[in-house]
């Protein structure tokens, strides 16, 4: 089921909210069970065949976690348990996500003739990472014992299940345990609706609106210089508004249930360097990769050379997490390279004089943005030759069309760039503070200004009016 669909907005969400708060009068556990069941219903609406896999994954990780948390095991047994748990998770993920990729590569090298046709369960990358973090923390002794319904809800919680944000058990489960979240709070519901409205508008009006332009670069016909740039920039903004729109919707929906989700975006295209970009783009994935891959690999503790190696490994695997294709590996590797250059510049580059700070910042911003756009070409292209072909067109200004259509498209792109670069982001508009669990305080708290209220009501209306049939989120396929 899609957040940007009539059945979700007008049927599923109201029923889930009503049931949650109605059961909240009966006790603290029933709403949690209700929400977990609602999440399974949400998942099964379009992925019913993978519900047993999801439930088995929850049960498997809960049992391993229980062994690590509640049983007095020796160090070797604990290591064996966590290894078995993480290996089991990776095996399932590898089978469903990477078996076809592996077979294709074996076929290419050895002409092995292997055929693998396995459907990718939606959300498997997200719920697998969530649970690996849980197991590793349990092994490190950083996890309290959780009840099964709370754990099951933590994994299956429908606002994040399909495409994140990647949740952390220490952040979520205590919120599920709080009694206060089971009582309807009109302020949180209103703020949640407004955040949802902004996300829906980003998706249905902005991302879906610019989507046709992407074909200029990535379509079947070879683009000219200007068409290649328009297509690449269109995808740059489509992906941002699509994914950040989804994340806003997830945060908004969750807020209606009284649950604060972590932020996933912080105006990434305003970044002035790649390190900054990764602190702003898909923030929960960046944090996961840092805490559970980069730091265990040694991080920056083993000298500058190994730091760069670790960065490259982390980013290449981060790329592979997005999809089983070499284009994603190249995309991740390219960002790893960018990060290495960025760190090297920070360590060895010259200091910028104060009088040149502004132009230097502007140059850094432009360079960062262009580097990101170039990397997105690999992320979006169907194959490496296709990506290289598009990049070659972007580097060849001898072929320019710039007809009436291209001029109009360029204006479109300028509007989108203006929004991404100069408009305040959702958390700023809504004064959303995940850490302190507050929202809307700067808007006059519970006495919201009428103009703001009606403007955001219009945003919700336009978001709903913009709903098109069959418009999935890009990150669903990861």
């Amino acid at each position: 089921m899609l957040f940007n669909s009539y059945p979700f907005i007008f049927l599923f969400l109201p029923i889930a909210l009503l049931g949650y708060f109605a059961l909240g009068r009966l006790g603290n556990l029933a709403p949690v069970v209700w929400l977990a069941l609602a999440s399974l219903a949400f998942y099964s609406a379009s992925n019913w065949q993978f519900v047993p896999l999801l439930m088995a994954s929850v049960a498997f990780n809960y049992v391993i976690g229980l062994l690590l948390i509640a049983k007095p095991l020796g160090p070797a047994a604990r290591l064996a348990a966590v290894t078995a748990g993480v290996a089991g998770d990776l095996l399932v993920l590898g089978t469903f996500k990477y078996a076809g990729f592996l077979a294709a590569n074996l076929n290419a090298v050895f002409a092995a003739g292997l055929t693998v046709n396995i459907l990718l369960p939606v959300g498997i990358s997200f719920y697998t990472f969530t649970q690996i973090a849980f197991l590793v923390d349990a092994y490190r002794g950083n996890v309290a014992r959780y009840a099964l319904p709370h754990y099951a809800l933590f994994v299956t919680y429908f606002p994040h299940l399909i495409a994140g944000p990647i949740l952390h058990h220490r952040d979520m489960i205590p919120q599920f345990e709080r009694k206060e979240t089971k009582r309807p709070d009109p302020h949180l519901i209103l703020c949640g609706l407004i955040i949802f409205a902004i996300g829906l508008f980003k998706k249905t009006c902005l991302a879906d609106g610019i989507q046709p332009l992407v074909a200029l670069a990535f379509g079947p016909t070879a683009p000219s210089f200007d068409q290649a740039w328009i297509g690449a920039l269109a995808y740059t903004f489509q992906l941002y508004f699509d994914f950040s729109g989804y994340s806003d919707m997830a945060i908004g929906i969750s807020l209606m249930f009284g649950i604060f989700l972590p932020l996933n975006f912080n105006s990434p295209y305003k970044a002035q360097n790649i390190i900054d970009f990764w602190r702003r783009w898909h923030m929960t994935l960046s944090q996961f990769l840092r805490d559970y891959l980069y730091i265990p690999l040694g991080g920056n503790r083993r000298g500058p050379v190994l730091r760069y190696v670790n960065l490259m490994i982390t980013m290449a695997l981060g790329g592979l997490w997005h999809g089983a294709a070499w284009t994603f590996v190249i995309w991740g590797g390219l960002h790893g390279l960018y990060l290495c250059v960025n760190h090297a510049w920070n360590n060895f580059g010259p200091a910028i004089p104060a009088r040149l700070a502004k132009p230097a910042n502007l140059a850094a911003f432009v360079l960062t943005f262009l580097s990101v756009v170039v990397a997105w070409v690999f992320f979006r292209a169907d194959s490496l030759p296709s990506a290289l072909s598009i990049l070659s067109k972007m580097a060849d200004p001898t072929q320019i069309v710039f007809g009436r259509g291209e001029i109009a498209y360029a204006l479109f792109i300028a509007v989108y760039a203006g929004i991404a670069w100069f408009a305040p982001n959702t958390q700023t508009i809504m004064d959303y503070d995940h850490k302190n669990r507050t929202v809307g305080e700067a808007l006059g708290g519970r006495r919201m200004r009428p103009l703001f209220l009606y403007a955001t009501a219009a945003v919700l209306a336009f978001g709903i009016l913009g709903i098109q049939q069959h418009s999935e989120f890009i990150y669903f396929r990861f």
Binding site: A408, R447, G466
Partner: protein, 372 residues
């Protein structure tokens, strides 16, 4: 009720009001003319034929339906009417499948036309999504059910078009709005129904259709890197199944409607490309073609025209933009052949023209394309 609860209620009511206002605007302007022919506002039309056809079927008067793919998308209704002596409605859709075509024709047949002119080739019968899974065809709009009408009325994109059509109908604004109306920004830029999906007047026909382009296209499709596409999507069983359901089923269900079905005049290069780069597929197409001709010959309300053997056209490569798409001059020839019955297939020998085509394909020497 607390101040926040009141705000929540205001927020929801305001959203609802705005949505209702958009729906009211769409209902009054009715860009697709689904509810009534345009009277208050000037009629405007879209090039998105899968959507536009749903409105045309409701708003236009016609006694003949004209259906096809991109090979017949540029035909002018006025030419069809003039040369065939009918009142036609062109419903051709680029890249359409037999599921889509049959569904749209069936919707048009509810208006009881007497005749269907149907451009049919083997490719439309490839396996394709059912109409309800087809993301390009708004099937519920044709059915006029609640989902279809609600989707139409509560559409922001349609409200934008409605507002634009409204602005275009206000006299002081009309000239400026008309100048700004472009297919790049708006979905309903066409003022005359006869102009829907015809070639724009500024298109240089000689530059768009010439031997150089058709030969270049031929070389592209036989390039070993791409030649696999020639065989892609072909399955004899699937094509027979779809033909039986979408074409034969429709014809049998409407015995009072006369069906003029024609196989379009591809350039000879399309067949030669298959002959040289995908011979098994060519054999499959010939077999399927024979099956279609034999089956259609069994229906008294069908007249089959095999224009593939119109050698003076198909061997003149200057008539084509690639290996299949012919120029507007050939559009007119097609209509005159249909009117005169020049290439009507004899019911007693339904595969005779196919045999002539086979002979032409076998005899064609690709050296003739050298130097083009």
């Amino acid at each position: 009720m607390s101040a926040t609860a009141k705000n929540l209620l205001r927020f929801l009511c305001a959203s609802l009001l705005i949505m209702l206002a958009a729906a009211a605007l769409n209902f009054v302007v009715d860009p697709l003319q689904l509810f009534r022919p345009a009277r208050l506002f000037a009629a405007m039309y879209s090039q998105d034929s899968r959507m536009q056809d749903a409105g045309l079927i409701r708003s236009q008067d016609f006694d003949t339906v004209f259906m096809g793919t991109s090979l017949s998308i540029h035909f002018r209704q006025s030419d069809i009417d003039r040369l065939l002596g009918v009142k036609s409605l062109k419903l051709a859709m680029t890249g359409s499948t037999s599921h889509e075509q049959s569904f749209v024709i069936a919707a048009a047949l509810e208006r009881h036309p007497r005749r269907v002119i149907w451009q049919v080739d083997d490719w439309i019968f490839r396996d394709a999504p059912e109409t309800d899974q087809d993301i390009y065809l708004p099937a519920d709009l044709y059915r006029r059910n609640i989902r279809g009408l609600a989707g139409y009325l509560f559409s922001g994109a349609m409200a934008r078009e409605s507002a634009w059509i409204l602005a275009r109908s206000i006299p002081p604004l009309a000239p400026a709005v008309a100048r700004l109306t472009t297919g790049v920004l708006f979905k309903f830029p066409i003022a005359r129904v006869d102009d829907i999906n015809t070639l724009r007047p500024d298109v240089d026909v000689a530059e768009a259709y010439n031997a150089r382009k058709s030969v270049a296209a031929f070389r592209r499709v036989i390039d070993p890197v791409r030649s696999a596409y020639l065989a892609e999507g072909y399955s004899y069983q699937a094509m027979v199944k779809n033909f039986e359901r979408d074409a034969v089923g429709l014809i049998a269900k409407n015995p009072d409607v006369k069906f003029d079905i024609y196989f379009p005049p591809y350039s000879i290069l399309q067949w030669v490309a298959m002959r040289d780069a995908a011979p098994a597929t060519l054999q499959l197409v010939f077999d399927f073609s024979a099956y279609m001709a034999q089956r259609l010959a069994q229906f008294p309300n069908v007249r089959l025209h095999d224009l593939r053997v119109a050698k003076e056209t198909t061997h003149n490569l200057g008539n084509y933009a690639d290996v299949i798409h012919h120029s507007p001059a050939i559009d007119l020839k097609v209509l005159s052949w249909l009117a005169a019955g020049t290439y009507v297939v004899d019911r007693a020998a339904p595969t005779a023209s196919l045999e002539r085509l086979k002979a032409q394909v076998a005899a064609y020497n690709v050296d003739e394309t050298r130097g083009q």
